[in-house]
C-alpha cells in the first residue's frame, strides 16, 4: 500500500500559459518513455524479481515515478488551464479540446494514446532490468529534448530535477542488475 503526501516531490512552476510546450511535455505523461510507462513497468516487474532487495528497488523507483507523474500532470495543466478553445485550436490542440476540453489525457507529443505495448515484463530479471535501464536513458534524453524546446526558466528548473532523477535511477537499476547476476551465478541458474 501507499501513504499519500499531499504535496509534490519538487515544485512545479511555469512562467505562463504555453500550449506549444504543453503539447510536447505531455509525452512525459502518456508517451512511450514517460512517467506513466515507467511507474507501471517497474511496479509490475517487481513481482518476478528474484530477491527482496531487487523487489524493493523496483517498488521504490516505481513509487517515485508516480510522484513524477504528478509533477508532469501539474506542469501540463498549468501550461494549458487558461487557454481558450480558439487558442488550443491554433496550437494544434483542437482535437484535444474536442475530446477532453482542458482535462489531461495520457497521450504522447503527437496525440497517440498510452498503450501497454510500451512496456514489457519478460519474467527474466536480467532482461527486465536491461529494459528498465534503457527506459531511464530514454526518459533522460526526452527531458533533454524538452529542455531544448523551452526558454521558461521555471519549467527548465523542474525538468532538470526530473532529468537528474533518471540518472540516479539508472545507477540503482545497474546495482540491481549486479545483484541479480551475482545471485544467479551463486545459484547456478542460467
Amino acid at each position: 500500500m501507499w501513504i499519500y503526501e499531499k504535496k509534490l516531490q519538487y515544485p512545479a512552476k511555469v512562467g505562463k500559459t504555453d500550449l506549444r510546450m504543453a503539447k510536447y511535455l505531455v509525452t512525459q505523461y502518456g508517451g512511450p518513455d514517460g512517467e506513466l510507462s515507467a511507474a507501471l513497468r517497474y511496479l509490475n516487474q517487481r513481482y518476478s524479481m528474484p530477491t527482496n532487495v531487487t523487489k524493493a528497488i523496483l517498488t521504490d523507483i516505481g513509487t517515485e515515478e508516480m510522484a513524477h507523474l504528478e509533477i508532469i500532470a501539474t506542469l501540463v495543466y498549468k501550461l494549458t488551464k487558461d487557454a481558450s478553445p480558439e487558442e488550443m485550436e491554433r496550437a494544434g490542440l483542437g482535437g484535444h479540446y474536442a475530446d477532453h476540453d482542458n482535462a489531461l489525457y495520457y497521450v504522447d507529443a503527437t496525440g497517440n494514446p498510452w498503450t501497454a505495448t510500451y512496456i514489457q515484463a519478460k519474467g527474466d530479471p536480467v532482461a527486465d532490468l536491461h529494459e528498465d535501464m534503457a527506459a531511464e536513458e530514454k526518459a533522460r534524453a526526452t527531458y533533454q529534448w524538452l529542455i531544448d524546446l523551452t526558454d521558461d526558466p521555471d519549467l527548465i528548473d523542474t525538468l532538470n530535477f526530473l532529468r537528474v532523477r533518471e540518472i540516479v535511477h539508472f545507477q540503482r537499476f545497474g546495482e540491481a542488475l549486479d545483484l541479480v547476476q551475482e545471485y544467479q551465478n551463486s545459484k547456478h541458474i542460467f
Binding site: F161, V168, Q171, Q181
Partner: protein, 52 residues
C-alpha cells in the same frame, strides 16, 4: 557487489559500478540538485553545448 577487476568480469554481461558512500550535500541542497550525492550529479547544458 561486483568486482570491476577486468579479469573477474564475464563476457556478454553488463555491469554498473556499485556506489560507495563518499560524501553528501545537505538535504535541502540534495533536493534542489535532484540527488544528494555530488558524484551522481550530471547537469545538462543544452543541445548546443552537448555537441560542442
Amino acid at each position: 557487489m561486483n568486482d570491476m577487476n577486468p579479469i573477474m568480469l564475464r563476457l556478454a554481461q553488463a555491469y554498473v559500478p556499485f556506489q560507495t558512500y563518499v560524501n553528501r550535500w545537505d538535504p535541502t541542497k540534495g533536493l534542489m540538485m535532484g540527488t544528494i550525492f555530488p558524484e551522481l550529479y550530471r547537469p545538462y547544458y543544452g543541445r548546443d553545448r552537448r555537441r560542442g
